[in-house]
């Protein structure tokens, strides 16, 4: 079996809105177990699990937990990042709408482990259904005594509220998200300091992705060592893949790290349509690299992705078949970033416009060699100098295609020259 259902195990077997169903399959027992553990033991479990963040950057969870533990200032906050604004990603929504209580339980464990008293679930504005489901689940959990003060007579207090996303992609970036919860415009902050030191309202704050937090109960249940045995030695556990584009069976699949992309596309996704061929895939979403068909045997793990100087841990695979013009896709991606840039820093605010304009010339077949050189330089500079992850990853698709599809660029320039002639 290619799929390995750890965090999605109960999905389909329970009514998402029934807390009894969740408790019936062992829900909230891991939180109770955590309450019986020392904070140090919990940290050790996460350290041993080698769990890394699932929101895109792949940051080791144990390091953040340790940074939080060192902070003595109160209150502390736990934030679940459910903004999921990256095109091609829909796995957080899948989790929220199908097993909301597991996310709440994950946040409870995180809160207990870090000594946090208050939590926020920052949910993408367009996800009305997710918000409704999570809201009902929070109320049920409160009713059942899992949220509030002196939870289960443990003298531990924690409560949780939902915040609707501000409707822009950059609000998923952790600093912009904090600003947004604070009621300000969604723009990143100067770093350092990082959120674990100065986060929400300048208090210590743990921010994790939905999937990351949904994994917390699993790790408490099976122990860090056992969890680390799944996947590859450095990328442990499982990953939710949002599979979309030109495949037969789009959807969310949970696979262990180390599985090849070809297998995911062919065995789980049923391949591309009849008579079609895969031309390329984009990994991670708009911010990810575009790689050619011949690289599909590459396995999913953090190291491989880092080779592209990109952070593609969010786990989207967008399949692009042979009907598409690569430059049209690149222009679309570039348009997306031009629109989503918050405008705070120069390279991202100005540079994306220039990249889009150059790409338009490739689409219209009016590009020159100079355009190619400019594009290459712009992409590098924007990648290397932007203030936040949005600008840093905006040129990833361009940089990767300049590498893997250089001939297509050169051919298009030749076409352009002929068109002029």
């Amino acid at each position: 079996m290619l799929e390995h259902k750890l965090i999605t195990k109960h999905i389909g077997n329970i009514d998402p809105l029934s807390i009894d169903d969740y408790v019936g399959v062992g829900g909230y027992a891991m939180f109770k177990k955590a309450l019986g553990m020392t904070r140090l033991d919990i940290h050790d479990a996460f350290e041993a699990s080698k769990l890394r963040g699932r929101g895109g950057a792949g940051f080791p969870v144990a390091i953040k937990l340790m940074a939080m533990a060192k902070e003595t200032r109160k209150p502390k906050y736990v934030i679940c990042n459910a903004d999921e604004g990256e095109p091609g990603n829909f796995k957080d929504r899948y989790l929220m709408e199908n097993n909301p209580h597991q996310i709440i339980e994950g946040m409870l464990i995180a809160a207990y482990a870090t000594g946090s008293s208050h939590g926020y679930l920052y949910i993408r504005g367009e996800y009305a259904q997710s918000m409704a489901t999570m809201q009902q689940a929070i109320e049920a959990a409160r009713q059942a005594g899992y949220l509030g003060s002196n939870i289960l007579n443990s003298r531990f207090d924690f409560d949780l509220e939902i915040r609707s996303g501000a409707g822009s992609y950059v609000c998923g970036e952790e600093f912009a998200l904090l600003e947004s919860i604070e009621g300000k415009a969604g723009r990143t902050r100067v770093k350092p300091p990082f959120p674990t030191a100065k986060g929400l309202f300048n208090q210590p704050t743990l921010i994790n992705n939905v999937e990351t937090l949904a994994t917390f109960p699993v790790i408490i249940a099976m122990g860090g060592e056992a969890y680390a045995k799944i996947g590859t030695p450095t990328s442990t556990g499982t990953k939710l893949i949002s599979l979309s584009g030109n495949v037969r069976k789009k959807g969310v699949y949970e696979v262990p790290f180390g599985v090849s992309m070809r297998k995911i596309i062919e065995e789980l996704g049923g391949g591309v349509g009849a008579g079609r061929k895969i031309q390329m895939i984009q990994l991670g979403g708009a911010c990810g690299p575009i790689i050619p068909e011949y690289m599909l045997d590459m396995v999913i793990d953090f190291e491989r992705f880092e080779e592209f100087e990109s952070k593609t841990g969010a786990g989207a695979i967008i399949v692009i078949d042979d009907r598409h013009d690569m430059f049209a896709i690149l222009e679309q991606v570039s348009e997306f970033f031009t629109h989503e840039s918050c405008g705070k820093c120069t390279p991202c605010r100005e540079g994306n416009v220039h990249m889009r304009n150059v790409l338009r010339r490739f689409v219209n077949k009016t590009a020159t060699e100079q355009d190619l050189l400019m594009l290459e330089n712009q992409a590098r500079v924007i990648h290397q100098t932007s203030l936040c992850g949005l600008g840093q990853t905006a040129p990833t698709a361009i940089i990767s295609t300049l590498h893997y599809f250089r001939f297509d660029y050169l051919n298009r320039i030749e076409d352009s020259m002929q068109e002029v002639a």
Partner: protein, 570 residues
């Protein structure tokens, strides 16, 4: 003390320093654009990127703290290329008509373009031209030149606590603007001009008055006279290449004469007059149970702020006009009579460290006949410097000259008006000596000097303890005003100046003014005071003459008509 390596050179840095600070401490130059000493670190422009050895991306020197063993390269090919490309991107969205710009030859972006070696911009222009906002009486905003560095936002929000400007929209459409893109005249701008003082380019600047002044000077029927504010003489030199803290009073007079002004007067004269009127107002209010605390009103930025934010406290404001306006009123009445001139032919110019003074001069009540302004044009320190440069005057070589009479008599009390606490100290010197009816033992009131945002002092006058306070910047003034509103203010007399450091740090002062420079100027001002023969306003014989020859009693009828004003809730 961490040891770090900059361009292969090992240097010591202090813990907590940023790369930029460490580099500057060792004379390495890293270009910056959004960075400004007294404002928050924004790291928006990304110009100061350097290569951090062992890291894939580049890091901004302004925001990255140093650590033991850190190694950076300031001018690696990657960093140089990035800096150049970012500068080109800025210029590609900038109306770079340098020759038609106030900042030509005095522009941070221009200098950056030069230092990054831009000959031809490889980036195509993507500028979408927007209209220039000239609606405000003091300031002009040209967003086609705005590089979105955020300095003005900080100055208005953080220093002044107002927040008229902010960044709106996102991505390429983002714009530094007012709420809902309103005209700068239709928002609550106090005209202090701190935004214009920190802007690195010509995107927000004082409204130009040099043209009307040149025209007036050239007009055959106009008698053009000029007054020079106290804070100019310690700052203008910097803008014209002299050392920080140079006292250039005599050279200013000489330069103004060369520019063609008929008479050159010293605002210090009416500063002393202000002290006499305001001192009597304080004495009257204290004696007769009038409204206290009395708050100074010589700063139009503060007056406008109070009219808007504290309309309930307007009775606390001194009714005295500012020295600038007292001068204007006297020029068109007393001086006109004395010189046998038609006031309509007199054109009064003031040189001020201040953009709000332009607005003050345009207030309708500042008119001797209800029609024509008392002060016809206000030039900032920067505008005067520009005119001097336009004329090709070699300022440092000028022979010093004296102000025209009667203003040659000036006092140390007037000289210190330009420093925060100066008006307070000048007033105390007079009020205490007059009420105590014996000579002051100590002229310096050290407790009201200094740079703290709010300073308070207790002064014994006629055996009674009087509490006074001094505030500079409007965010500090707010605290004082809130206390008055709550009835918890213990003070009898308060001085408020809108700008950091007082007028020495005014919005019309030379570019690059910082707290450090303002402090330096304040020191110079106290030095001027120390060297002065007459140091108390009520000892100014020329002022006494003016009362006996023309005005009558201080606070008397004519004095009230000419030298006092009223305020309007807004």
């Amino acid at each position: 003390m961490p040891t770090i390596t900059i361009n292969n050179l090992e240097v010591r840095a202090d813990a907590g320093m940023t790369i930029l600070e460490a580099a500057r401490a060792h004379n390495f130059k890293i270009p910056t654009l959004c960075h400004y000493p007294d404002l928050d670190i924004k790291s928006d422009c990304r110009i100061c990127v350097v290569e951090l050895i062992g890291q894939k991306g580049l890091v901004t020197a302004c925001s990255t703290p140093v650590y033991e063993g850190m190694a950076v390269k300031i001018n690696s090919p990657r960093a140089l290329n990035a800096r150049k490309a970012i500068t080109e991107m800025i210029l590609a969205n900038h109306d770079a008509e340098c020759t038609a710009c106030v900042r030509n030859m005095n522009c941070e972006l221009q200098r950056l373009a030069e230092s990054t070696g831009i000959v031809k911009n490889r980036f195509e222009s993507i500028l979408e031209v927007k209209p220039v906002d000239k609606s405000n009486p003091s300031l002009v905003r040209n967003s086609n030149r705005c590089i979105k560095c955020g300095r003005c936002i900080d100055a208005c929000k953080t220093i002044q606590g107002i927040g008229v400007l902010d960044i709106a929209g996102r991505g390429h459409d983002s714009d530094v603007t007012t709420a809902f893109g309103k005209a700068l005249a239709d928002v609550f701008c106090t005209y202090c001009g701190q935004c214009s003082a920190v802007c690195p380019v010509g995107a927000i600047m004082e409204k130009d008055s040099t043209d009307v002044v040149w025209e007036a000077i050239d007009h055959p029927d106009k008698h053009v006279i000029v007054q020079v504010a106290p804070a100019i003489r310690v700052s203008l030199g910097e803008e014209l290449g002299l050392a920080l803290g140079s006292i250039v009073t005599g050279k200013i007079v000489a330069a103004l004469k060369m520019l063609g002004f008929s008479k050159v007067f010293d605002t210090n004269f009416t500063a002393d007059l202000t002290i006499i009127e305001e001192g009597h107002e304080l004495i009257n209010r204290m004696k007769n149970g009038g409204k206290l605390p009395l708050i100074t009103s010589c700063c139009p930025g503060w007056v406008r702020y109070a009219e808007h934010q504290y309309p309930d406290l307007l009775d606390n404001l001194s009714t005295c006009k500012s020295p600038q306006q007292m001068f204007g009123a006297l020029a068109k009445t007393y001086y006109a009579q004395r010189e046998n001139l038609n006031p309509k032919d007199i054109f009064v110019v003031s040189i001020m460290p201040c953009t709000a003074k332009k607005y003050e001069a345009s207030r309708p009540e500042m008119s001797y006949n209800g029609q024509d302004p008392d002060v016809d044009a206000v030039l900032t320190t920067r505008e005067l410097a520009k005119m001097i440069k336009q004329m090709g005057i070699e300022f440092e070589n000028l022979r010093e000259q004296k102000f025209d009479k009667p203003d040659e008599v000036t006092t140390g009390a007037a000289a210190i008006f330009g420093a925060t606490g100066g008006v307070m100290e000048a007033a105390l010197r007079s009020v205490k000596e007059i009420l105590d009816e014996r000579p002051l033992e100590q002229l310096e009131f050290d407790r009201v000097r200094g740079y703290e945002g709010i300073r308070e002092a207790e002064v014994t006058i006629k055996g009674e303890t009087v509490k006074v306070a001094v505030a500079h910047t409007l965010s500090q003034a707010k605290k004082i005003a809130d206390d008055i509103r709550l009835g918890t203010s213990p003070y009898a007399f308060i001085e408020v100046m809108a700008c950091p450091g007082g007028c020495v740090g005014g919005g019309g002062q030379p570019y690059g003014t910082t707290h450090e420079k303002s402090r330096e100027r304040i020191q110079t001002i106290y030095q001027v005071d120390r060297l002065m023969k007459v140091r108390k306003s009520h000892d100014n014989a020329a002022v006494a003459n003016l009362y006996s020859n023309y005005l009558g009693e201080p606070s008397g009828k004519l004095a009230h008509t000419l030298l006092h004003t009223k305020y309007t809730p807004r």
